[in-house]
Symmetry: none
Subunit: 135 residues, 4 copies
DNA sequence: GTGGTCTAGACCACA
DNA sequence: GTGGTCTAGACCACA
């Protein structure tokens, strides 16, 4: 059983939202290496979205090494472990954080407040793991 | 004189990039309240993009209170100060940070490494201010 | 089927007129929450204006919460209900009414005549709802 | 001495704002028939706007019969009384009120609340007259 | 000269 | 097919 809420009006594409939700599930340990994910068809039906959309999210996750897609066994969280933080990824994150942090600075947050915010979100993500498992 | 580099190949729209660059300029104090920005047409020509693209970025910045657009005096960094961190903004930032932090956690970063990264980006932004002013 | 007449010669921009017409349609219950609106391109063709002009009206309506724009389902009158009368809106309306009422006072209308006029327009708007639905 | 505040960032043109402020002054009896107004040049300097802007406002007011412009005596509030409410004006006001009232209805105001709002603005305008005269 | 508006037309991501 | 983005180019109100 999956508890994923998508925002169909969001400016961010549904397949990206879906990808992110699954990654959040892994981060919060609601999804663990080896855990199965629904088939494209089933998941699409559950979420009320197009099959292509789920497929696109899965492809992204596979590309980055978060999941494995087997013809027979279906889709599972990568049992061999998660991808690592390489230079490429770090550069990307920096590029993404830069405008967010800049705007916060403009709006008057100092370094301490910023750190506190990050920490809160960090713990919020971990707390997600106290719920029932996603699958 | 403006030193802003846009990535025309990027997946993120030019007008968003431009908006962000200007906000980074403010965060790094290269742009200060009251400072003038180029007219949409001049800026467009300088950047090699269309007038409407610049205008779209300006409209976003105006909406959020970062700049003022005077029919006469042209465009200036809001001399009355920057917008504040309200609940709405905070909720937004949290929503934006969540997937980034989640992925970092998945990839094995612990809280300390994450904090260090944030701090580095934070200081990188401030260092931008050591260059000559943007205008 | 949509019956909206725009005045291309008017001093008020087409996209503002269009925005207002749609709001009048909602006020008169010709358009109800959940009702679909034409796609930007279809509507533009029907109205004989450019796609961007319709889009600008839609963006305004979306910003204020009157409509939702789904990447998939297209455009609909906000099914979650309309925006409310908040302090911000009230202040705006007052600011808009002030010159209109002032001029009427100058021209010799007393409070009763003014009230009667408002009431007439109010009922005129509601009468619009007796026509067939807009869609 | 004139106490008129213009919003240079407003979307409404300065000359329209100025026109409206003067009409509000008349409605609140801070300005009475026969009262002098500053010369274009003086007024422009006092307000910090272009002469053309003041002139344009004056031309509008003269056109509608709110003021008289004499080459020698200067500018005065029309001593022969104000323009009246003719059919043309009424039609115009209705057209202006329609979108405002429609939006209020959409946002959930009923007729009574609307009437109360109008009445408040009406009285606010009259209260303006308790201040010192504008000239 | 400046921003505001509008058009015609194009390509693309998304679903 | 839908909205999102971008361009080139035009006219106008405003100051």
């Amino acid at each position: 059983m999956v508890i994923i809420s998508l925002d169909l009006q969001s400016e961010s594409p549904i397949y990206i939202q879906l990808r992110n939700k699954i990654i959040e599930g892994i981060a919060s340990k609601q999804l663990r290496p080896g855990d199965p994910l629904p088939s494209v068809r089933t998941f699409a039906q559950d979420l009320g979205v197009n099959m292509h959309t789920v497929n696109k999210a899965y492809q992204l996750l596979k590309q980055d090494g978060f999941i494995q897609i087997h013809r027979q066994k279906g889709v599972v969280i990568n049992p061999d472990g998660m991808p690592s933080v390489d230079g490429n990824y770090l550069a990307n994150v920096r590029e993404n954080l830069r405008p967010v942090i800049s705007e916060s600075v403009c709006r008057g947050m100092n370094k301490e407040e910023l750190m506190k915010l990050i920490q809160e979100v960090y713990e919020e993500i971990q707390k997600g793991g106290e719920h029932d498992d996603l699958h």
